[in-house]
Subunit: 795 residues, 2 copies
């Protein structure tokens, strides 16, 4: 390593550190052309310095590797609090000024760079959507390594350098993300180089991994299947020596990676032990060693702002100035504030700059999927409710064709449930599950490379998919409905990322994140109460209406049409809930396309409205099981009260219920009334927690007439019809509700209501006695509603 | 190991396996007194067999250890799907019949035991609250090991045997839970013996840990700080040999544990490497090897029900009968179906039976906390709004005293935020953070034993606390409000556990799970958008009203009173949101007690109602920051429109807004109207997402007049007052809202409304220019509202 290269590395490091400190502290006097005065210092000192010097050191050294080895590299900063560092590096390599032309690469631009940081109307304190080169925010910790692997899938030429803070390393999601190496194909996927950055401290505590012996730490990394390289720096180390030693470790890692990739291309089949680096360095490195008599550098006290009184306290101000000048800014920046030649010499060319990587502005990379016509997979429905099909199995055939046509840009992620959710066998006729650990002759559908990613960690599934989408590809996450709550917070953070990205002019749209929540609340026959929770929709709807869509297709064709729409959308999160069990099919493909285009509508064949007479009562449903019960209730009313004008409504796009002023999919009040009426009783059978419908519709004219049934947290291991009875969502209860809500209905229909509730009681008794539902009552084509389908003309 | 003991172990194992299979399959003929006929088989075959034989093997062998070493042991079955096994063991040791007298320990009881499993009206398929000896459900996987450590804290005589499935081991929470051993004190805490049960398969896939080489797996466990013992069994192994070898491993582990504990009691200070066992055994062990020509035993096909056609398919029925008879039931059960003497010989005495452990029926162990009088910690408030205090700092002094008085039964859990949330320094005057990894001279408040548990994993915090509560102790979990979403699903599962427990007659109440959500959405000055999410309340309110309570105390004294209440409550989950920043104080302790007892109320000193005249408009608030803005808005209106009768309402107990028919804390409609009026405009400033208030109050008479402001997902790193402005929750907007909603108010008060919005614009401009809020506008005692406090008589 010659001195020139060391000088360049050190200049970059000092410059990036200087610019980071400047962002946290300075309102003016960015180059210290004059002595530092209180008015140069920001009134509110916000930000996090502790992790920044380590992040900047890595950045400089990856730049060298890019130059020397012509790498295509992406940088993921797990410590999101290192935001000022990532911004500093992007400014140094010129990307920042290209994307934000007012933040020029000179003294004036530097002043704007400093001022805007954590400043009202400026930029946030994290590596955020506003940060060039970032696909990872890291405000909430735990997902950097999953994101890194997601970025590497199907990107064989990409090296993802992922710095993991030792705080983040304590989280569960990060602790299991190390195992991602069992799912990476060294031929068709890229490389992840994890750098575990042990700076020893969290906000107020030491970190666990910094306080176990080296041999234990190395065992841990070997146990995770890695080949660890350990390097340690202290505050006393000579910086030239730091660069020399760190460059040597980075070269060693790069050499081992190259060897692994070459061997894999030559046909090596064993899972490689990829290198990873353990970097021990002081927290707040190069910052003030002692403040007010207390040690700061190398302790948790440097986590945020090491000198908190710089504006009020003359001693702190002087110490801040010394600290800034210790980086020797005069050597680093020219007369106009532009970076010195040493720094320029370490800037990779064009798109090779990590801040300019097209992978990190994924919209530039993303290509529309080549999608088949969903009609080619449609279920034939001549007569509603006569034939059964599994909606997800039908979708599986469609997704298989999506994979066939898009062999490098589409993946399916899920926690061991692709088969259970009936997307298999179809998808396995096209692809396999990617798996790089040991295989045996008993295994099925495991392969070195495949489109299906299964691991029993919802965090991993979501993190991988996010990384995959954020680097320009497409995918679907299938999950048990109840357990998708495991990633509530990841959903929240991704929604926030998308929301913030919309305000960033240079970020092009990325593919939407698509959920398929099958194995839903109503069909947990094997599993019971713990597996019953439809509340993810409620979590999703707290996020911006610009981002969130919720669909409840009620049969195979509406599911196909919904997914065709979702896979074409961008910058959204689509929550799709659909059952996997064989169930009656209702809409032909033509009808499904029309119904889904409207998002909701009257099922005329199911109701008993007569021309010229408005409905007496509306039975509405959202979700596959509620729709069956509503249709059965309508069928009962048709038989028992033939004069009654019943309207049956189905809602696929839940956002239609909101007002157009609140959600882009929302209906106008007049359109809403045209479907639901303004003044007739509405009995609404909803898939999830009933109050959600009120939350969406509380401003509607007819809201006072709206009576919602849904899941009210009653459940156990029991039969499907017992489940709907437990939650008052069954056909008998719904029919009784409808009658009871008619004017004078309770009196006029008293005998029938009593009869309905008695049929309910008998159904329950039968189930308790026989352990299965009475075939004469439950199901669809059975018993009381048998053959109805034939009398309803298909649309 | 003599043959007698082996015979006993094998008899127990066969009997437990037999009873497990019987539960999954049989409706009648429990002892196979006659040949098996289709009508003996359940119509719906539900349950999971795959993991059961391993769980039963461990159970038998722990029984031996208990007998031979007089252990006090608790069994946690990570694979919740092993429910039939846990029920079988509880029946064998007699506990089941003691707790459920109709399920006698004879043939009739066995028939009932079989029938009820996964049967409508019966018991669920998991180790559940209904299962004797269980504190862990495991429907959602990942938390067994955290629960085990939580159970061990402060239980020095307890050994928690924790079986971890290799599916569960892939989850993030479990992957980091191994590090719990850095937080366990071998003197004052108990022992956890993790048994990683590798049966190799999930639903449809191999497991990661079963498919890495032994040396990697051992490295991993050593890296986690454990001393692993590996043992492997195959389907071909002789069962006597199995018992001999497994007993030897269990003895080895028990010996090492005893040595560690003895050394620790003798003063050894180094963190011990606790033993753990890796148990490789076939999935579906002892079940059918091949079904319909496909391998089943030792594959994923034995995950649930190995023979699915036993009622319809004569071949399956015959195979089922052979399988059941392979356990030789005639040797295992006597003439009346009672367990044979060999089995009885392996039953530990009384409470030593794991199914009868009082630790697992925690209400029997729980003692009320010795609580101080919160008045002793109250802030003096003579005049509302004149002095500042940090509510959480005041609470910290109170919690410190709680710890002083309850040195063995109360702990505080949090992800590195006790200091940041200002509970320190007070709590560290009484106790320390428990930490068993290396320490340095820079560390503060770390100790071998302490009442504060900090690790950067919300999953660990929640899991430890749940385990601690479920074994009869008390605690509080403090978290950033946004990041408590990380444990949404754990919250859901714990709520379901409590809900189901209420239906189990023999389960005594346990202490409530108390959250303290500080560092909330409105004060993320350092952190910005990623740290802003008040939606946990929405998640919480989807669970049963019997369980969930939400409190938003708005100053120190209301927080004290709230926590005094929470720490006395049982079987609930209390979500308490309170800011940590120094803020004005409003209520004296007397007033706070009265206000909190009602849960909400009119702040008469803040309004301008006159006697005999109802309010013209109601300004309501829930949350500390919204209350400040409402009080400031009321102050503005008092000055600008002196004739206007403004009522100011504050809500601490959010559940008061619901109807009494929906929540036990709910107000009657008349009481609601007495506070909010039935017909006047209500401007409601809410801490969280605004639609939640509509969801709670949509049936109230005055709902059409209710106008809610709250967090609408607008945020970044900015000033506190800019944050409320971004979300239209600021005093100017609220005052303008109030005026605009008066009859003809928009016209009558047009000039003032315009002036208010102009003050808002100027406030925003000031902030954007100076990077801090205009001291003349924002804050509380400043500017427009200065000195108001003095004119409001303290109650």
């Amino acid at each position: 390593m010659d001195d020139d290269r060391i000088a360049r590395l050190d200049a970059w490091w000092r410059a990036a550190n200087y610019l980071s400190v400047g962002q946290i502290y300075l309102l003016a006097n960015p180059l210290l052309r004059e002595p530092l005065h209180p008015e140069h210092v920001k009134p509110r000192l916000l930000g996090h310095f502790g992790t920044v010097p380590g992040l900047n050191l890595v950045y400089a050294h990856v730049n060298r590797l890019i130059q020397e080895r012509d790498l295509d590299a992406l940088y993921i900063a797990g410590p999101g609090h290192g935001g000022p560092g990532m911004v500093a590096n992007a400014w140094l390599d010129g990307t920042y000024s290209e994307l934000y032309p007012d933040v020029t690469r000179d003294e004036g631009g530097m002043a704007r760079l400093f001022r805007q940081f954590s400043f009202p109307g400026g930029i946030p304190s994290h590596a955020a959507p506003e940060t060039p080169g970032s696909i990872h925010e890291g405000g909430e910790l735990g997902y950097s390594l999953s994101h890194a692997y997601g970025a590497a899938f199907d990107n064989p030429d990409l090296t993802v350098v992922c710095v993991i803070g030792d705080g983040e390393a304590e989280t569960g999601p990060l602790a299991t993300a190390w195992h991602s190496n069992k799912f990476l194909d060294p031929v068709s996927d890229g490389t992840v180089l994890p750098i575990l950055h042990l700076n020893g401290w969290k906000i107020a505590n030491p970190t666990v991994l910094a306080r176990i012996p080296d041999d234990e730490l190395l065992d841990l990394m070997r146990g995770y299947g890695h080949d660890p390289l350990l390097i340690e720096f202290t505050a006393d180390d000579d910086h030239a020596d730091v660069h020399r030693r760190f460059a040597s470790v980075m070269d060693e890692a790069a050499d081992r990676i190259a060897a692994i990739r070459a061997a894999a291309r030559d046909g090596a089949v064993e899972r490689p032990r990829w290198p990873m680096i353990i970097l021990r360095s002081p927290k707040g490195w190069t910052g003030p060693a002692v403040v007010d008599g207390l040690p700061v550098e190398g302790t948790w006290r440097s986590h945020q702002v090491p000198l908190t009184g710089a504006r009020e306290d003359a001693g702190h101000l002087r110490q801040l100035e010394e600290w800034l000048r210790s980086y020797r800014p005069d050597e680093l920046f020219g007369a106009d504030g532009e970076p010195a030649p040493d720094i320029d010499g370490l800037v990779p060319s064009g798109d090779k700059r990590m801040s300019a990587s097209p992978h990190a502005n994924a919209g530039l990379v993303r290509q529309d999927l080549d999608l088949p016509d969903p009609r080619d997979f449609a279920v034939q429905v001549d007569d509603p409710g006569t034939d059964d099909a599994s909606a997800t199995a039908v979708l599986g055939s469609y997704l298989a064709e999506v994979m066939r046509r898009n062999p490098r840009t589409f993946r399916l992620f899920g926690p061991d449930e692709t088969a259970s959710n009936r997307l298999a066998p179809a998808v396995y006729e096209v692809t396999d599950k990617q798996w790089k650990a040991k295989t045996t002759e008993l295994d099925e559908h495991l392969a070195r490379a495949g489109r299906v990613m299964e691991v029993l960690s919802e965090h991993q599934c979501q993190g991988w998919l996010e990384g995959y989408l954020l680097t320009g590809r497409h995918g679907v996450f299938t999950s048990y409905e109840a357990f998708v709550h495991i990633v509530d917070s990841m959903f929240n953070q991704h929604a926030k990322w998308l929301e913030a990205s919309k305000e960033v002019a240079w970020r092009a749209p990325i593919a939407s994140l698509n959920y398929l929540l099958s194995s839903h609340v109503w069909r947990q026959d094997h599993n019971g109460f713990t597996h019953q929770d439809p509340g993810f929709i409620d979590v999703a709807l707290n996020k911006s209406a610009d981002i969130v869509r919720v669909y409840l297709p009620f049969d195979a064709n509406t599911l196909l049409r919904t997914y065709d729409h979702c896979l074409r959308s961008v910058d959204e999160i689509n929550v799709v809930v659909a059952g996997k069990q064989p169930q009656p099919q209702w809409l032909s493909m033509d009808a499904a396309v029309e119904h889904c285009a409207r998002g909701l509508g009257v099922l005329e064949w199911a109701g008993t409205e007569r021309e010229g007479r408005e409905a007496d009562v509306v039975l509405a449903a959202a979700g596959d099981v509620p729709t069956i019960e509503v249709l059965a209730a309508a069928s009962i009313l048709r038989k028992e009260v033939p004069d009654l004008a019943v309207r049956v409504v189905n809602v696929v796009d839940l956002m239609r219920l909101q007002s157009g002023s609140e959600h882009p999919h929302g209906l106008s009040d007049d359109d809403f009334d045209a479907v639901f009426t303004a003044d007739r009783p509405i009995i609404f059978a909803y898939h999830g927690y009933p109050w959600l419908i009120h939350r969406l519709a509380y401003r509607r004219r007819g809201h006072d007439n709206l009576h919602v049934r849904g899941y009210k947290e009653k459940g156990t291991t029991t039969t499907p019809f017992d489940m709907v009875m437990l939650n008052d969502l069954d056909r008998f209860r719904l029919a009784a509700d409808a009658l009871g809500r008619l004017p004078d209905g309770e009196r006029e229909h008293a005998a029938l209501i009593e009869d309905l509730l008695d049929r309910r009681r008998r159904a329950k008794e039968y189930t308790r006695e026989h352990g299965e539902d009475d075939p004469a009552i439950s199901g669809w084509r059975w018993g009381g509603v048998s053959g109805e389908g034939a009398r309803w003309a298909a649309r």
